[in-house]
């Protein structure tokens, strides 16, 4: 935001007529002339979608319908507001949901009632100044140019600014985002050396989690919660850690406890549902998925995946007709999302099998296969695995095996996924044959990789690149292959000089790899090499 307060356009959202008038009078007295007001979330969304506002002053509690946080999430999701706008949440009281929710989208500031003009003006001025000082960093983050954002943070830090802690916090988040775990750990430890602040301690725990040191991660998250059991971000990460080490019942319990303190976080309900489903606790899983759908209706958490998972739970609960209804609802909600359509068809086939209607099940799978032909490699591992199961039930063993082999090839270094594939084979009483197929698939990928590395060693980068390009085409979800190709392209450019086409290719490979696994350690090195 580059405009001054009197020049800015302001939206006031409050369900209470008197409060709207009062807030309007306040900002008028500050010299603001462009002021709109909205009484309901619907009115607010309408205005936000058609006007650009520099400042939004929004009451958290708006009666029935969306609350202030949900409006904020929708506005961010639909890009009605950019990184430069200021969102101030007005609230009568501090609630857990507002402050300790897993919300990734946070308002710039909040104000506790009662508000007077002097206080509001003082806060708005401070926020404008803050936005201006962080503008470059926020823009870089918005453009996903994390390396530049980190450089800008370092420049700011050298100036010894008043908001030092805030910049350290932004920088540490960025280091985690780009996967520079060593630097992140050093930074968190430095901050903790001065004061044991929970965000930095939780950050250190995240570093241990991301570097797979789960026992230390667990210890740290537990310590944070012992010191401040209301610091729910640590609960969410503790649950993830427990899940990773197979302590799934405890993971579910941690989420249940967190839920008691903050019952309205869509993200947490989804984690609870996932944990409960893994534990075979279908009742809890169903309720939690339903709640996720309800809470995430207008937010970044809205995802077709939740509908599909709820349908799976319902199929497992022997109410496949309910599952079909949910899948229909999901289709309505996510029209035009091809990946979601494939996933829905796959679960549909499982539901029809449960209903004893193999023909309809086969038709659903055929539908999924047809759509997949247009969208190679873009389905999740979970959907692919469900599809293989369904194909086995339909007696299409060869197709099922192909599907599973493709999963293995795309994820040959991921032990967790390999063991899940193994479990699917076991479930079909094909344990031995399955292990053979897994081994063959893994070796095929390793073979290509080795050949690529050998060519590179001999200095034949261009041959290596074309070999790996073909491999990536065949294995579009293989993080390892994608990163190796990217490394080869960087090597080739070092030898032959840079060109735009290869720069572009390398950057899109990095983007794709980040989608698959944001914590890949090589991401940071390659991104830096492309700077």
């Amino acid at each position: 935001m580059t405009v001054s307060l009197p020049q800015s356009s302001i939206l006031i959202i409050d369900d209470f007529q008197g409060m709207r008038t009062m807030l309007r009078d306040f900002v008028k007295s500050m010299g603001v002339t462009k002021i709109d007001t909205a009484a309901t979330s619907k009115e607010a969304i309408n205005l936000l979608s058609t006007h650009k506002y520099d400042v939004v002053i929004c009451d958290y509690n708006l009666g029935p319908g969306q609350n202030g946080q949900q409006i904020l999430e929708e506005a961010k999701l639909r890009k009605y507001i950019g990184h430069a706008s200021i969102w101030v949440m007005v609230t009568a009281e501090k609630t857990m949901d507002m402050f300790m929710g897993a919300a990734e989208t946070k308002p710039d500031d909040y104000l506790l009632k009662p508000i007077n003009a002097a206080l509001l003006e003082s806060r708005l001025q401070k926020m404008i100044a803050k936005k201006q000082s962080l503008d470059g960093i926020e823009k870089a983050v918005n453009d996903k140019d994390y390396i530049t954002a980190i450089t800008l943070c370092d420049q700011k830090l050298q100036e010894q600014p008043a908001n030092l802690q805030e910049i350290l916090r932004i920088k540490s988040d960025l280091l985690l985002t780009v996967g520079n775990h060593e630097a992140a750990r050093a930074l968190f430890e430095k901050i903790l050396g001065v004061r044991k602040v929970p965000w930095a301690k939780t950050g250190l725990g995240k570093v241990y989690y991301l570097t797979r040191d789960y026992s230390r991660a667990k210890e740290i998250f537990q310590e944070v919660l012992e010191e401040n059991k209301m610091y729910l971000e640590a609960s969410d990460w503790l649950a993830k850690t427990l899940d990773a080490i197979g302590e799934r019942v405890q993971a579910q319990q941690v989420l249940v406890n967190a839920m008691e303190l903050s019952p309205n976080s869509a993200g947490r309900h989804k984690s609870l549902a996932d944990a409960a489903y893994k534990n075979g606790d279908l009742e809890v899983a169903q309720t939690a998925y339903e709640k996720t759908i309800k809470l995430s209706e207008h937010s970044v958490h809205k995802s077709p995946d939740v509908y599909a998972k709820l349908a799976k739970v319902l199929t497992d609960k022997d109410v496949p007709d309910e599952a079909l209804k949910i899948l229909d609802r999901g289709r309505q909600e996510f029209k035009g999302n091809a990946e979601a359509a494939i996933q829905a068809s796959v679960i549909e086939s499982l539901a029809y099998q449960k209903m004893g209607q193999p023909q309809k099940a086969a038709a659903a799978i055929a539908e999924a296969e047809k759509k997949m032909a247009d969208l190679p490699g873009m389905i999740s591992v979970e959907t692919a695995m469900d599809m293989a199961k369904s194909l086995f039930h339909l007696g299409k063993k060869d197709e099922a095996c192909d599907m599973l082999q493709s999963i293995v090839k795309n994820n040959h270094e991921n032990a967790g996924i390999i063991s899940q594939v193994e479990a699917v084979f076991e479930g079909e009483h094909l344990g031995e044959e399955g292990r053979g197929l897994i081994k063959a698939s893994t070796q095929e990928v390793i073979g290509i990789n080795n050949q690529g590395v050998m060519l590179a060693r001999e200095g034949k980068f261009d041959e290596s690149v074309s070999l790996l390009r073909k491999a990536v085409e065949m294995l579009p979800n293989s993080e390892v292959m994608i990163m190796n190709l990217c490394g080869m392209i960087i090597g080739l450019m070092k030898k032959q000089g840079r060109n735009e086409a290869m720069m572009h290719e390398a950057k899109s490979l990095i983007d794709r790899a980040r989608e698959l696994n944001p914590n890949n350690k090589k991401l940071y090195d390659y991104e830096a090499a492309l700077k």
């Binding site: 209470f16 008197g18 409060m19 009062m22 009078d25 509690n61 009568a92 009281e93 501090k94 609630t95 857990m96 507002m98 402050f99 300790m100 506790l112 009632k113 009662p114 508000i115 007077n116 002097a118 206080l119 003082s122 806060r123 401070k126 008043a162 802690q165 004061r195 044991k196 602040v197 929970p198 965000w199 401040n228 059991k229 209301m230 303190l261």
Partner: protein, 230 residues
């Protein structure tokens, strides 16, 4: 929402929310009328309105304190200790009480280094300061001083006034952590002190814990309200 879905907490919270909206508007309207009466030179009305606004502010502060203490009991208060600018904290607390101070012609001075930062929950400590300022407003002659400095492992904030000071009975214990009991004749329920010492004690760092002390003296020789946070 079905009837059984509404918990007692939600009920209290939504009622307080409603009451605070009313109070907020009431205060804002009273301030408008007050400015008008001042312009017209109607000093008695102006002063009366000052008293009304002060009482409305006190009511609001009590509502926040009650709700917060209720939440402490249920461990559902989202305590959020983070590094904050101490000057900003003090300035904002004074801004919230600015109109009543103006009505009574009380001058409030701040002594705090610009680069003084400390770790605390912003809203809770603002609550302490508002409570202290409301008290000082009642007892001061015409001056209040808010001074903050870092003293070893603690941040010390002093709110001093140039009134008569606290009565001896209130100073018997060196700490105000004990409930002073309800005294209807003086209008003191002990809520403000209870809230403030509870909040101070909730701030911990290692083995250090926050505390609240009241004493007489200070720069102006009146009442001193001293909060120390680790």
């Amino acid at each position: 929402m079905a009837q059984e879905d509404i918990s007692f907490t939600d009920f209290i919270a939504s009622s307080i929310h409603d009451m605070k909206n009313s109070l907020n508007m009431q205060i804002s309207s009273l301030e408008k009328i007050a400015v008008k009466s001042q312009e017209q030179g109607d000093t008695p009305t102006f002063e009366q309105l000052g008293v009304m606004i002060y009482e409305a502010n006190r009511m609001n502060a009590n509502l926040i304190q009650l709700l917060t203490i209720y939440k402490f009991g249920k461990t559902i208060y989202p305590m959020d200790v983070a590094e904050q600018s101490v000057c900003e904290l003090i300035e904002e607390a004074i801004l919230q009480d600015k109109s009543i101070m103006d009505f009574k012609g009380i001058s409030v001075s701040i002594e705090c280094e610009e680069d003084c930062y400390w770790y605390f929950d912003r809203d809770l400590v603002t609550g302490i300061l508002i409570n202290a300022l409301n008290n000082a407003y009642k007892y001061t002659s015409n001056k209040i001083r808010v001074a903050a400095k870092i003293d070893g492992r603690f941040l010390e904030i002093r709110i001093e006034d140039n009134g008569q000071g606290y009565p001896a009975g209130m100073l018997q214990n060196d700490s105000v952590s004990k409930n002073k009991g309800i005294n209807f004749s003086s209008g003191s329920t002990g809520l403000g002190f209870y809230f403030s010492s509870r909040v101070a004690a909730m701030h911990k760092n290692g083995t250090d814990q926050g505390s609240l002390i009241i004493e007489n003296g200070g720069l102006y020789g009146g009442g001193c309200f001293v909060v120390r946070l680790p």
